[in-house]
Symmetry: C2
Subunit: 224 residues, 2 copies
DNA sequence: CGCTACTTTGATCATACTCAAGCCGAGTGG
DNA sequence: CCACTCGGCTTGAGTATGATCAAAGTAGCG
C-alpha cells in the first residue's frame, strides 16, 4: 500500500535549499534504487553497521535513540530531500524509522572515506547536511533543556508551518512522536494543543491531524 | 594572568583519538598564533561572521545559546585538542566563551569552501569533528529530553571521568555551567551531588570543585 | 579580617507526569 | 447497516519532581 495522504503531504514539504527534482534518484547514477517503507518500518537500527546514506524522496522519517526502559527521544524528523544516516564511525548511533509510508533512496557510504574518486558535489552535500543537522541539534537542545511545554509546542508548530509552506499543517506524525520529539508526554502535548485552540491561536480538524494557524503572532509570542 | 590550576586540569584532559602534541599549533603552519582568553571571555558571539575555526590548546570552552530572557543552554564543553566554531552558514549559531583561563589557536575558515588548495588532513579533521559533535548532540538530547535530574548528573559525572582519565575529577566549570548544560537549576545540581555523597557514591572536596568517584558501578546504575 | 562570589540547604510551590476514564473515527464482521 | 473493536486522542484528578524564593555557609582574595 502507498497512502496517498502521506505522499501528498510530503510533496510540498521540500526543505530549504534543496531542489528535489534536480537531485532525485533518477538524476544521480550514484544513488541506489528507491525503496518503499511502510508505517513504523525500520530503515536502520542503532548499532548496525553504517554502510549506506539515505535520502528521503517522499514521506517523513524519524531518527531516535531509545533507553533500556523504553524511553525514547526523537532527535529529528527528515522530510523529502533530506539526507540522513551520516555517521562518523562504523555504526549508526540512532535508529531510523518511517513515520508513515515513505520512499527512500540510498547509496553506498564512500564519500568521506575515499574523497578522490567520487562525486564531489555529493560529498559536499553530505557534509552540508551533517552541519545542518548539527545546527538543528543545537537549536533543539535549548528547546529541550530550557523551554516550557507551551513554548515547546508553539516552537514545534511554527517550525512545521515553515517547513510545510502553508497555513494548514498536515501532521504526518502521531502525538506520541511529537511528545518524544519535544521531551513531553502525549497528554501534555494534547492539553497544550487544546489550550491553544481555546485561545483561538490554532484550529484543530476533527481528525486532529490537521492544524491551521489562526494567530501566528500569538504563537510567536509564546515560543519564548 | 594564567591560572596554573586551570592549565594543570586541561593538560591531562585530552580527548579521544587526537594527539595534542602531534597536531599542536606549532606543528601546523596553517594555524594562527595561540591566544589567551580569561575566565568568561567571549571567543565569538552568536550571529557574528563565522570567519575562523578554533582549537583548544589548554583550558575548557563552552558553546551556548541564550534566549531573550537570559535562559541559557550550554550545548557542549570543549577541552584540549577539540576544534569548535565549525559552521555551515556565514554566521556563528552559538556563542563560545572560555570557562576558565584558556589557550586557543585559530585558523582561517577555508577548508570546506576551497577544498583543493589546503591541507587535506585538516579538512578531514574538521569534518570528523563536526560529525563527532553531532553524535554528542544526539546523545545529549536524550539526556535533556528524557532523563531525570539524578540520571543527568550521574551521566555527567561519568562522562567527565571518562574524559579526564582519572578517578578524581577537577571540575573546571561552575555549578551554573553544569546546570545550564544539563537543563537544571544550580540548586538541583547541588542537591543531587550532596545526595550522591551521602549515599557514598562520590566524595566532594572541601572546595567542592574536585569530585572523586567512590562507587562508579552505583553511578552507572543511576545514569539511566 | 571582611568583602564578594559561589555553593549549599531549607521551605514552599508549580509545572508537567501518572493513572484512569472516556471519546472518536476507522476498520471489521455479523 | 449496525454493533463491535481497536488505536489514537482527549480530558480529568491527584501527585511528584524539580523550580523558586530565601537564607546561611564557605572559599578566595583584597
Amino acid at each position: 500500500m502507498y497512502s496517498s495522504a502521506a505522499i501528498a503531504t510530503a510533496s510540498r514539504a521540500f526543505p530549504i535549499g534543496i531542489e528535489p527534482g534536480a537531485t532525485s534518484a533518477s538524476a544521480r547514477p550514484v544513488l541506489g534504487p528507491l525503496r518503499h517503507y511502510g508505517k513504523d518500518e525500520e530503515i536502520f537500527a542503532e548499532g548496525a553497521p553504517a554502510s549506506r546514506y539515505y535520502k528521503v524522496a517522499a514521506g517523513v522519517v524519524r531518527t531516535c535513540k531509545i533507553l533500556s526502559d523504553g524511553r525514547r527521544q526523537i532527535s529529528a524528523f527528515h522530510v523529502a530531500g533530506d539526507i540522513f544516516g551520516i555517521e562518523r564511525g562504523a555504526e549508526y548511533r540512532v535508529t531510523a524509522e518511517a513515520v508513515g509510508d515513505a520512499m527512500i533512496a540510498s547509496f553506498r557510504r564512500c564519500s568521506l572515506e575515499e574523497p578522490a574518486d567520487i562525486d564531489r558535489g555529493l560529498a559536499r552535500e553530505v557534509v552540508a547536511t551533517a552541519l545542518l543537522n548539527l545546527e538543528r541539534a543545537q537549536e533543539h537542545m535549548i528547546l529541550l533543556g530550557r523551554k516550557s511545554a507551551t513554548e515547546k509546542v508553539a516552537t514545534f508548530l511554527l517550525n512545521m508551518a515553515k517547513r510545510m509552506e502553508g497555513d494548514a499543517i498536515e501532521l504526518p506524525m502521531s502525538r506520541s512522536d511529537i511528545a518524544d520529539y519535544l521531551g513531553l508526554t502525549i497528554e501534555t502535548v494534547s492539553r497544550t494543543l487544546t489550550h491553544f485552540e481555546r485561545k483561538g491561536a490554532i484550529e484543530l480538524s476533527t481528525a486532529r491531524r490537521t492544524i491551521r494557524l489562526r494567530d501566528e503572532p500569538a504563537l510567536r509570542r509564546l515560543e519564548s
